[in-house]
């Protein structure tokens, strides 16, 4: 049952990603990408990462995609025009390279993890029962990963300053 739901959301994600890269209109591409992001959020729930699923919807589908659509609107790119998809030569090269990459990546899904390093099955739900769904992410985040977390704030500050400097005509 879980496996069926998982595969249906996975196929939805893959189909909408395919539509995202083949639509001529950037607005349509962006909206299909939103569908992909929502399906990935559903996959996160099925993989015991409920908090990250909420973050995915809030940050990706909510904030980042709105930023994309806002820029498309600002540059007036939604109007019909010539296609930006490359011609037959570009398509052939891209499909060839894509097929090679898929051939290399796909065997990873058949790997088995050595039992010496894996947790016993059901230990993540048990941890979430014990510490709470948010708590089980927050404890390592504010413990072992505290310094990377603090450095992230510097990164975000640099991004804010950079975006303002680049987007403003005259300071």
């Amino acid at each position: 049952m879980t496996s069926t739901i998982f595969w249906s959301f996975g196929i939805l994600a893959m189909l909408s990603a395919l539509l995202c890269i083949t639509r001529k209109n950037p607005v349509a591409s962006a909206l299909w990408l939103v569908v992909t992001l929502f399906s990935i959020a559903a996959l996160f729930v099925l993989l015991d990462a409920q908090f990250l699923a909420v973050l995915q919807v809030l940050v990706y589908a909510g904030a980042i995609m709105v930023l994309f659509l806002f820029v498309i609107m600002l540059l007036n790119l939604g109007r019909p025009g010539p296609s930006d998809i490359k011609g037959p030569l570009g398509l052939g090269v891209a499909v060839l390279l894509g097929a090679a990459l898929l051939l290399l990546l796909q065997p990873l899904s058949r790997t088995t993890l050595p039992s010496a390093i894996t947790l016993p099955p059901g230990s993540v739900p048990a941890l979430q029962q014990q510490q709470g769904i948010v708590g089980s992410v927050a404890n390592p985040l504010f413990g072992a990963y505290l310094i990377p977390f603090e450095i992230t704030s510097v990164l975000l500050l640099a991004a804010i300053v950079g975006a303002v400097v680049l987007a403003k005509r005259k300071l």
């Binding site: 998982f6 996975g10 994600a13 893959m14 990603a17 995202c20 890269i21 950037p26 591409s29 992909t36 990935i40 996959l43 996160f44 099925l46 993989l47 990462a49 908090f51 990250l52 973050l55 940050v59 980042i64 930023l67 994309f68 820029v71 600002l74 540059l75 790119l77 930006d84 998809i85 570009g90 398509l91 891209a94 499909v95 390279l97 894509g98 990459l101 898929l102 990546l105 796909q106 899904s109 058949r110 993890l113 894996t118 099955p121 993540v124 941890l127 089980s136 992410v137 404890n139 390592p140 072992a144 990963y145 990377p148 992230t152 640099a158 991004a159 975006a163 680049l166 987007a167 005509r169």
Partner: protein, 99 residues
């Protein structure tokens, strides 16, 4: 266990992202394809976190923060380029090309 299906969906999504970057000329669409690739990697992290511990989920959090910063700066760069060239097509970004 959903590890195998998750890794295989993630491989397909990553490949579709790479295909998009190779196929398109619109800078904004290429940017969206980069986000798609980041999401495919996030899916891998979450799938492996199920059997290797919560570190994977924490890492997805960091990837999301980096993706947000990248989107903000990247879109500002696209805006700045559009102001110079009146276009976001990568064909017109050839200042470094000879002749």
């Amino acid at each position: 266990m959903l590890l195998g299906p998750a890794l295989s969906i993630s491989a397909v999504l990553f490949t579709l992202g790479v295909l998009g970057v190779l196929l398109r000329r619109n800078a904004i669409v290429i940017f969206m394809c980069v986000e798609l690739m980041l999401n495919a990697v996030n899916l891998t992290f979450v799938a492996l976190a199920q059997s290797l511990g919560m570190g994977g989920q924490v890492f997805v959090f960091f990837v999301m923060a980096v993706a947000a910063a990248e989107a903000a700066v990247g879109l500002a760069i696209i805006l700045a380029v559009y102001r110079h060239k009146q276009s976001v097509s990568l064909q017109n970004m050839n200042l470094l090309k000879d002749g």
